[in-house]
């Protein structure tokens, strides 16, 4: 793991440092106990002796009981350590996920327009999981291995410093080899995580488009594209696997070679009289004890690599720039009159392609203002700017004569209620969905809002009524009904400004008539900003803004615009012209 990565992870490890150091002591104790047991078994075997009928049974029993105690205690400690470590690992994962989600909720909307949900999910769930596996199991093994190696090394040095020189060659060699391989593996594992993320993103998108895919009978082409991504991910996986396959065995080889060297030199030393046979056999035994953990550790390094790649992806998400915060001294937005003005606003998602050009308009407080215009004229963009999803490249938008940037962003947004083209529902009950944005709403208030939005009858017809849980984002609910729910949501909130973005386009005409009655109620004391295509519904608007090519082409009341015979009149006539 790169140091910088470790330093970036450190804030998440810090709260658990106390628990981790305690665990370290427990691991130490458990290892000492398991090292002591073989000693006792040796004494027990000594107590058995070599003579028939001459077994020292009290001695055997004493040592055997000691062994049982050692093993029992060691097992207990081992359990405590792993259980505790799982708790720590899970705690860290939870903190990571929480931090990642907190960051995600502060990201600007364009992040979600350009990053597939599948990739975000892949980072917050699967990558955190990978890091967790390392924290809760691999790390323990690594510590145990290091302890065993250190213990054995001490014994080896005590037995024969000269013979230990062999390790002066082999241990640095293993380390160099591993660090070289790690460096080589790192990009491969990063590519592997990336390719799997891309595959997940693709699968997310396409499984959701199955209806269109089968309607056009393009399964084969779709499958080919999937295969491409699948092959890419499989290849990346294999390349990382192929490269890491040599990690364990090559370290093991160095280790085994050092065993061979020790056997040879040890035997020579013995023949030269520099070593006793007993010491040689102990030395060999300990150096074999040495090799197991080293082997384990080398195998773990592969896992650590994939963990490092995963951790990087999470930390990168955490480092993504969030929406600009409130400027210092931002004004509270408690209660607004709702006077909105756009002053020479120019904006384009891509600055080179302005959607709005020098747009100026004034919306008096408490008015019903409608925006009409051909598709793509910039109507929805006006709403995005008003909500501060984006900032205009030039010009200013003010509410109650204060630039929108000077308000506290979240408070400002809370003063506006909106119904968008696509209604968003979440996996909760219908009542919770309606009360979204109005915490603490009573059931009576919810029902009243649903009645006003003419969705009450639909809801009560469901088996669980208002407590019906919507699954899969309310998949079973038609677009029109979804919009009625959004309208109920909007009716319930105490917002000062109501924004309806093509809100009536998917509700049938009868429902639309009912809604316009409800909206009449909602309008009282609020500024109402409507984007609609059914000109019939906005005939009674106080003011109609006609957008064309990103600028205000006309404005006025319905009758005035009609008699002016401009863009609006053209749009209006189009709705009942028989095409023949």
């Amino acid at each position: 793991m790169k140091r910088s990565l470790f330093r970036r992870l450190a804030p998440f490890l810090r709260p658990y440092l106390g628990a981790l150091s305690l665990l370290f002591l427990l691991v130490l104790a458990s290892n000492l106990l398991s090292l002591a047991a073989p000693l006792l078994s040796g004494w027990a075997v000594d107590a058995v002796g070599v003579h028939t009928g001459g077994v020292d049974f009290p001695g055997v029993f004493r040592n055997v009981l000691g062994m049982l105690a050692c093993y029992g205690l060691s097992a207990l400690l081992q359990y405590l350590v792993s259980a505790r470590l799982i708790r720590v690992g899970q705690g860290i994962s939870r903190d990571l996920r929480r931090a990642a989600f907190a960051r995600m909720s502060q990201l600007p909307v364009e992040y979600f327009d350009t990053h597939p949900a599948g990739d975000l999910i892949s980072r917050i769930c699967y990558d955190v999981d990978t890091v967790n596996a390392t924290l809760s199991t691999d790390l323990l093994q690594l510590v145990t291995s290091v302890l065993t190696v250190a213990g054995s090394l001490v014994m080896l040095l005590a037995l024969s410093p000269r013979l230990s020189c062999v390790f002066l060659v082999t241990v640095p060699l293993s380390m160099a080899l591993t660090s070289f391989q790690m460096k080589r593996l790192h990009p491969l594992f990063r590519r592997r995580s990336g390719a799997l993320g891309a595959l997940n993103g693709f699968a997310e998108e396409r499984v959701d488009r199955q209806r269109a895919i089968r309607t056009y009978g393009v399964e084969a082409a779709d499958l080919r594209q999937f295969e491409e991504k699948n092959d890419e991910a499989s290849q990346a996986y294999y390349r990382a696997d192929w490269a890491s396959a040599s990690l364990g065995p090559s370290v093991r080889f160095i280790n085994d070679a050092s065993l061979a060297a020790i056997s040879m030199f040890g035997a020579m030393l013995y023949l030269g009289g520099a070593l006793t046979l007993g010491s040689l056999s102990s030395f060999v035994l300990y150096s074999r004890k040495f090799s197991g953990p080293i082997r384990e550790a080398a195998n773990l390094l592969g896992e650590l690599q994939s963990s490092a790649a995963a951790a990087e992806r999470i930390l990168d998400l955490l480092d993504t720039a969030e929406e600009p915060g409130d400027r210092p001294g931002a004004l509270p937005a408690k209660k607004l009159r709702g006077e909105i003005s756009f002053d020479h606003v120019t904006f384009g998602y891509d600055p080179a392609q302005p959607v709005l050009r020098d747009f100026t308009a004034h919306i008096p407080a408490g008015s019903l203002t409608a925006v009409v215009g051909a598709t793509g004229a910039g109507k929805t963009t006006l709403v995005s700017l008003l909500l501060r999803f984006y900032c205009p490249q030039s010009g200013a938008i003010t509410i109650d004569d204060v630039p929108v940037e000077d308000y506290r962003r979240d408070e400002l947004r809370r003063r506006m209620a909106l119904v968008l083209q696509e209604t968003w529902l979440f996996g909760g009950t219908i009542a919770e969905n309606i009360a979204y944005g109005t915490p603490g709403a009573t059931r009576e208030q919810i029902v009243a809002a649903a009645k006003a939005a003419r969705i009450h009858r639909f809801i009560t017809a469901l088996p669980q009524g208002y407590d019906t849980v919507l699954t899969d984002g309310g998949d079973g609910i038609s677009k029109g009904q979804r919009q009625l729910l959004a309208i109920a949501r909007c009716l319930l909130s105490d917002a000062d400004i109501v924004i309806l973005d093509e809100a009536t386009s998917n509700v049938d005409t009868e429902t639309e008539r009912a809604i316009s009655e409800a909206l009449e109620q909602l309008r009282r004391g609020r500024t109402c900003f409507v984007i609609a295509h059914r000109l019939a519904t906005i005939q009674n608007a106080d003011r109609i803004l006609v957008l064309a090519d990103g600028t205000l082409a006309e404005e006025g009341r319905h009758e005035d615009l009609l008699s002016a015979g401009g863009v609006y009149a053209g749009l209006y006539d189009a709705q009942w012209t028989r095409d023949t």
């Binding site: 078994s41 058995v48 009928g53 077994v55 055997v60 055997v64 062994m67 093993y71 060691s74 359990y79 259980a83 708790r87 899970q90 996920r97 929480r98 989600f101 909720s105 990201l107 327009d113 949900a117 975000l120 769930c125 799997l196 998108e205 499984v207 488009r209 199955q210 089968r214 696997d241 192929w242 065995p249 090559s250 093991r252 061979a260 056997s263 035997a267 023949l271 060999v284 392609q353 051909a374 793509g376 909500l387 999803f389 408070e411 947004r413 909106l418 968003w424 944005g437 984002g473 038609s478 029109g480 009904q481 093509e502 386009s505 005409t509 639309e512 053209g570 189009a574 009942w576 095409d579």
Partner: protein, 569 residues
Amino acid sequence: MRTVMGYLLPYRVRVACGVALKFLAAVLELELPLLLAYIIDVCVPSGDRGAIARAGLAMMALAFGGAFCNITGNRMAAWVSMEVTRRLRRDLYQKTESLSCAQLDGFSVSSLVSRLTNDTYHVHQMFDKVQRGGIRAPMLVLGGLILTFWISPPLALVQLAVCALTFFTIFAVTRRGIPRYTAAQTAVDDVVRILRENAAGVRVVKAMACQDRERERFAAANEAARRAEEDAGCVMAAANPLTGFFLNTGLVLVILVGAFRVNDGVMDAGQIVGFLSYFALIQNATLGIAKVFVMVSKGAASAHRIEAVLTAPEDQRPQEGGPAAPWELGMENASFSYLGVEKDLDGASFTLRKGETLGILGPTGSGKTTLVSLLLRLYDADGGIVWVGGRDVKSRERRELGGRFGVVFQHEALLNDSVYENISFLRGLSREAVIAAAKTAQAWEFIQTLPRGLDTQVDIRGANLSGGQRQRLLIARALAAKPGILVLDSADSALDYRTAAELRRALRRDFPGVTLVIISERVASLQDADRILVLEEGRITHQGPHETLLRDCPRYRDIARLQMGGARL
């Protein structure tokens, strides 16, 4: 498990080679201690330095051979696992594509995605780990057991009993662990769901300034996931210490039984020492088997989920249908219910000849989209007959229907791909055909103003386009392959009246003979249809051309009057 295991079959030779290599590597490595013993027991007492050097070099050679075999074996295992998973994932995707819509609803989209990603990943891990470690460990246990029986059958029986107890423990712990892992998976699914909802609803969440509430909602699911995973982990954490303790108790028993047998003069103390060293070998190998066992049970759970999809019966096979009829589109008493509770479409009957236009009008939830879904054979009618091109749709392959229709669905989202690919939609159409379709769909004008024209990348869910632009791209997609039947389900909802009117004009000009089905809330879009169906609660209440409906259907008359301002009926 059998279906998934079947994927290994074509690679049996490679698997066998890989396993043989791992086997060879183990044998070579086991030779090392033997040579070591040879140096200490034979060469050293005889003082033969040449023999020592030769044995040492032989050890090096063996170590090198072992490393070589292991690396090659690992790589073969990695290749086979990769190849098997790749094919499995491909077949799973292909199967997903062939599921009927009813089956898709049954599995649910998110669950299918998780099977394609998460579960195939677990299976990959299982194949890899089993090939790499699954042979060595059992081999060592078996070999060790045989050798110990050779040394002392009674002691070996002690060992056998301990091994049995160990496996029983592993089994018992895993059996408690697996349901907890499943519960943990469900808890994680909730976390994923909230993530997905937040990615999709970012504008609403932000507009309502509900980030704090979302964070709370996420925190609750996150905490539940942590608790469930911790619960599962703590149960499984008992496996290693318990089995270790049992195995060590076996060691104690061996010494104890050995002591009595030495006392009775039926065995040597030296044999106990030899026995103990084998015991340690078996102990380690048993723990290795336990690890593989856990891996296999996790992988098996995933394999089951994958198999449930792979072995799903093929729905909607062509069957003998009703009599042929001269209708391009039609229904006779067709009924359908999504959930089997309430009829979403109830006894629909209508007919339409080639080149005619059908309009459908009705309130939200009245069965308009259901009717279209039956025509496309996305679902099969529960009763009655549905005709397409003069034949009962049940007698047709679904694929066969695919090429006939161009459809704009109500809920459709664009692909995160180029504008061209969104119109061509995987059909590899020529740029000319795509441009022509875009022109008819009134989309060409705005496409030209995009920074890279047809090659402009469309953001996820078409976020960089306006609602009306998205809708026109979908219409262009429906037109691009010049279908015989065109279905526009609320395709004009985001279009202004003028664009909608121009679209209708262009359709008539460029697609003179097309059979058209228009679902719309706008009377203006429907008034020229040869036949208009008025739907209410799943039933067709009235049908006929505009003028007839104006006269006979009060509801239609009301709607028309409302929309047209009552001015010029």
